[in-house]
Amino acid sequence: MATILGISCFYHDSAAALVRDGEIVAAAQEERFSRKKHDPRFPRHAVNYCLEEAFIEPDELDAVVFYDDPILSFDRVVKSLLAVAPRGEDQWSKAGPSFLGVKLFAGRYVREMLGREVPILFTRHHLSHAASAFYPSPFERAAVLTLDGVGEWATTSIALGEGSHLRTLKEVHYPHSIGLLYSAFTYYCGFKVNSGEYKLMGLAPYGAPRYADRIREELISVRPDGSFRLHMEYFGYLDSDVVTNARFDDLFGGAARKPESRITHREMDLAASIQQVTEEVVLALARHAREVTDATDLCLSGGVALNCVANGVLLRERIFDRLWIQPAAGDAGGALGAALAASHLRFGVPRKLRPDGRDSQRGSYLGPAYSSEEVRAFLDWHGYPYEVVEDRRARADRIAAALDEGKVVGLLSGRMEFGPRALGGRSILGDPRRADTQTLMNLKIKYRESFRPFAPSVLEERCGDYFELDAESPYMLLVAPVRQERREPFDRSAFDAGDDDLLAMVRRPRSDIPAVTHVDYSARVQTVSAEVQPDYHAILEAFERRSGCAVVVNTSFNVRGEPIVCSPQDAYRCFMRTEMELLVLEDCLVWKEKQPESERDESWRQEYELD
């Protein structure tokens, strides 16, 4: 028996996870409770939730494991400064106190919060990532590739998992980082580092990789084994608080794009270029991982593993037979990996694979759930009108009917997702067939206008009818082409000739599911299985029965800048702030038209900073 609490915090997206005898009991990000996006603080709410979910007191924990090694991280901080001193004083004066005053005392935070003397361990950042990918995967033996910005010294690592064992074989070290290279372009193209990488990836299909050769020649050198070095004279992160520098600007013809300003073809081409180079590096590393491990399956983790376009390319290259990607691939997932690594490697808990061949991540539904009684108590307490539809099929029919009528539906069902994607537990749903769904959901629900289409959820058994994808994608981490026969021709010659109106381009239908089809006919697919997600599967089935379409639009249940909703209270508040027409809280249907006018709230725009 071993009950282990894993914690990640003090960078961004802090989280906690609880593992008992190698089984994942709970995992959640602090931001969902604190309502502060990417909250980096010690995850006291998430820890409390994990303990409650496991029905245990702190003194029943066998260990608390922190997801990285603060001594080794501090070693990197100091050596980075010494490498550039006397430059770097500004950087040190701002970031040094954060590191010294907080991160080095992680153990003390744990003791103070738990009020008990629980053994506290620290593990390696990339081991945490690798463990988060290998142990929940359905593979007995697999190579594990971790790619991120940096953790201690490692920025890239190759590991081998076998049964209960996991061993790191080799690493690429800071400052040479494919994650930081991608972040440099994220910053340069005017998006936020650490959260805007997704936008850069979504921008890439609009552009052409005109700068790819320049990146290969000037910014990064790659060996045949996939190991790489950045040319640091073009980067600012060793001696300033900006990722790029003046030489980087000169290389690409001027200063970085100002955030929120118009996106031009330069940014589109830069996005396409860095995406192409990133894919090349990922493929080279994967080939080398295959060589050195002789494994037939691959697990992926680290923030770069959220690049679902690169993941799709990796799958299609067939370097490995199968691919499994940790859905909380960023630092939040480190909490889960730390707990799993300690369970199996330190406490000797034998790893058990599921007999049905599925993974042990449980659909990533690892957060809090709210019972029907709790939902009804909340609605009754406030006097909000609702109707109860207990029968799953009848409820799914009502939701499907609303979607078919073009209504936008908020869905809170079961346990909250762990990781950045909403997977049907805390989602906003729409009809993918309508040409205006994308604009409607963007303007009236998300309060943004985006050049990125929404993601589709599709019945697992019908995926092949819509997408050229012959693998499961339950965590929305694979991009695949929409099937040829569903595509509609559209002329992008004017756009390619210099018209940079992204929104006009994205509004043009490209398939019979236009709201989820990108301008290159790709889609970020979530496959939905009846075994793992029965409620969500029932909604998709009902929608197909009614409309003939086995796909719905699935976007995260939040407005721009807000963390994904956690509780019925969060969901109701978000519902009333937007133009969603139906809110589903477990078996309760809440119709907007019946809600009190006084609950409509426009003040949220001041509450959340832009993402």
């Binding site: 003090f10 960078y11 961004h12 909250d39 980096p40 603080r41 494991v65 603060p70 001594i71 070693d75 901080v77 100091v78 050596k79 980075s80 400064l81 010494l82 490498a83 001193a85 770097g88 004083e89 950087q91 040190w92 004066s93 701002k94 970031a95 040094g96 106190p97 010294l100 005053g101 907080v102 080095l104 005392f105 935070y109 053994p119 506290i120 361990l121 620290f122 593990t123 010294w153 690592s157 190759i158 790191t168 080799k170 690493e171 070290h173 800071y174 400052p175 580092v193 650490n194 050198s221 060996r223 084994d225 190991s227 070095r229 040319h231 640091m232 992160y237 608080d241 690594a341 300690a342």
Partner: protein
């Protein structure tokens, strides 16, 4: 004490301890990482030894780490780092904001 005091203290530390240490290390030819490609056939490194550690005394942990690496200039600063950490501890925990660039370097 507030964040301005913390920043001032950190700056003093940088000038008093880190710049001289950098000069001494450079004088004996110590470099910590390559800044670009070289002739090596592979740029992979070995992972650090050990999967788990327990951290007791901060000063001792830092000193032992740098002594193992033969970096006496840094090992001698372990006490100063620990003192600075003690002076800065806890007040930072209430801040929900962390610059995204902090992640870039730290």
């Amino acid at each position: 004490m507030n964040s301005t005091d913390d920043e001032r203290r950190a700056r003093r530390f940088f000038r008093r301890h880190l710049i001289p240490a950098a000069q001494r290390l450079r004088a004996r030819g110590v470099t910590f990482f390559p800044l670009g490609p070289d002739e090596d056939a592979s740029w992979f490194s070995s992972p650090p030894a050990g999967d788990f550690l327990e951290i007791g005394d901060l000063e001792a942990s830092l000193r032992e780490h740098w002594e193992r690496e033969g970096l006496d200039e840094l090992a001698r600063l372990a006490r100063a780092f620990a003192d600075l950490a003690d002076a800065l501890e806890i007040r930072q925990q209430d801040s929900a904001d962390l610059s995204p660039f902090v992640y870039v370097m730290y």
